[in-house]
């Protein structure tokens, strides 16, 4: 390669490294803020004030969903398999909301340590399969 081209190539590599470095700095400076939600453990550790709007997320604990019979009130437990958080919500739940499925809720902590949600989003996992396969897996377990 002739010297001029080599020089241009090195300059471009420097530009790319600079850009990657800048992106990395921005991303690491934002690090925690880049997370969409807190896990129940993080909420316990952080000691977040009530009335601060936050998002919490985790798995819906099996057998924890209590639906009110005469209103849209619902109460369920979100777990990260270390700590748990009780969620209160009034409204329509997304179709994919279920036990042992991921969920992200937005709202604030209450004085009794439970969480008052104003929005519930279902988190989908990376698994896709036909219903027959899902039944087979369930039967095996």
């Amino acid at each position: 390669m002739n010297p001029l081209r080599k020089q241009r190539l090195y300059a471009l590599i420097a530009v790319l490294i600079g850009s990657l470095l800048a992106t990395w700095l921005v991303v690491s400076a934002l690090s925690e803020n880049m997370n969409l939600f807190y896990s129940p453990s993080e909420i316990l550790e952080a000691g977040i004030d009530e009335n601060v709007l936050i998002r919490a997320g985790g798995m819906v604990k099996q057998g924890s969903i209590e639906k009110s019979k005469d209103s849209l009130n619902v109460r369920f437990t979100v777990t990260d398999y270390q700590n748990e958080l009780i969620i209160n919500y009034e409204g329509i739940l997304p179709d994919l909301f279920d036990e042992n499925a991921g969920v992200v809720v937005r709202g604030n902590l209450r004085t009794d340590g439970s969480f008052q949600a104003i929005e519930v989003l279902a988190k989908h996992d990376e698994n896709y399969m036909p219903p027959e396969v899902a039944k087979l897996i369930e039967a095996k377990e």
């Binding site: 241009r8 190539l9 471009l12 850009s19 929005e119 990376e126 399969m129 396969v133």
Partner: protein
């Protein structure tokens, strides 16, 4: 292939084949995916939008990497055709990124319960869309085509840093978007009768890109070389 007249002649022969192959792969993939593939155990039929969403997202990112490669060749070797290629690929990549954002949003409403959420995957993809827009804007703001080529070449190299962020966003941070179904290290967490049609769609989308890129590039070549003899010869005869 580096010289414009050679490219023009060579592309006339290859273009129809690219078009035919694209139609075959895409119609087979979409027919199989949308009508024959089984429904999902959890999402039902809504999941089928991935046969458009996933290939568009893949293309949105690969086209940017392709453009950065063109940019590198353009800056280092000053090959004219690579600059035209970069310029011709930009609107295609931007369109695919937009399709990925819109189809993702349409899928998100029934599945997650919201059209949009500012999580790392969605936000970084939106940034990619804006980088495409910036690139096209920068190109059209410079009159001298050679200078415009060089400016967007450097911007494409700078913008390349967003690609690993998009790719790894679902692993580095907690997001609403699910982690990758397909990874190099483990077998895909999707049943084969669902991912086989997806594979056809991805190939079909790449072929559409190749076809539209050739189409755009031929226009660009004729436009820039219009005062040259070889162009006059084509259009006089």
């Amino acid at each position: 292939m580096g010289s414009p007249p050679l490219f023009y002649r060579w592309s006339s022969k290859i273009m129809p084949w690219l078009g035919i192959l694209a139609i075959i792969f895409l119609s087979a993939g979409l027919f199989w995916g949308l009508l024959i593939a089984p429904t999902d155990y959890k999402q039902g039929d809504v999941y089928r939008i991935l046969y458009v969403h996933v290939p568009s997202a893949i293309l949105g990112q690969s086209i940017f990497m392709f453009m950065a490669a063109c940019g590198l060749i353009n800056v280092v070797w000053r090959a004219k055709i690579s600059g035209m290629m970069l310029k011709s690929a930009a609107p295609i990549g931007m369109s695919f990124t937009l399709i990925a954002l819109v189809t993702g949003s349409v899928w998100g409403k029934p599945t997650w319960g919201t059209w949009w959420v500012w999580d790392a995957r969605l936000t970084s993809t939106l940034i990619l869309f804006f980088i495409y827009a910036a690139l096209i804007g920068l190109y059209s703001s410079i009159d001298d085509k050679t200078k415009a080529d060089r400016a967007v070449s450097i911007l494409s190299i700078v913008g390349l840093a967003i690609i690993p962020v998009i790719k790894k966003s679902v692993d580095w941070w907690q997001t609403l978007h699910q982690p990758s179904t397909f990874t190099l290290t483990s077998s895909p967490s999707m049943s084969p009768d669902m991912y086989q049609p997806l594979l056809l769609c991805v190939i079909g989308f790449y072929l559409i890109f190749a076809f539209t890129l050739t189409l755009n590039l031929r226009n660009e070549v004729i436009d820039r070389e219009r005062s040259k003899n070889w162009v006059k010869q084509i259009f006089v005869n």
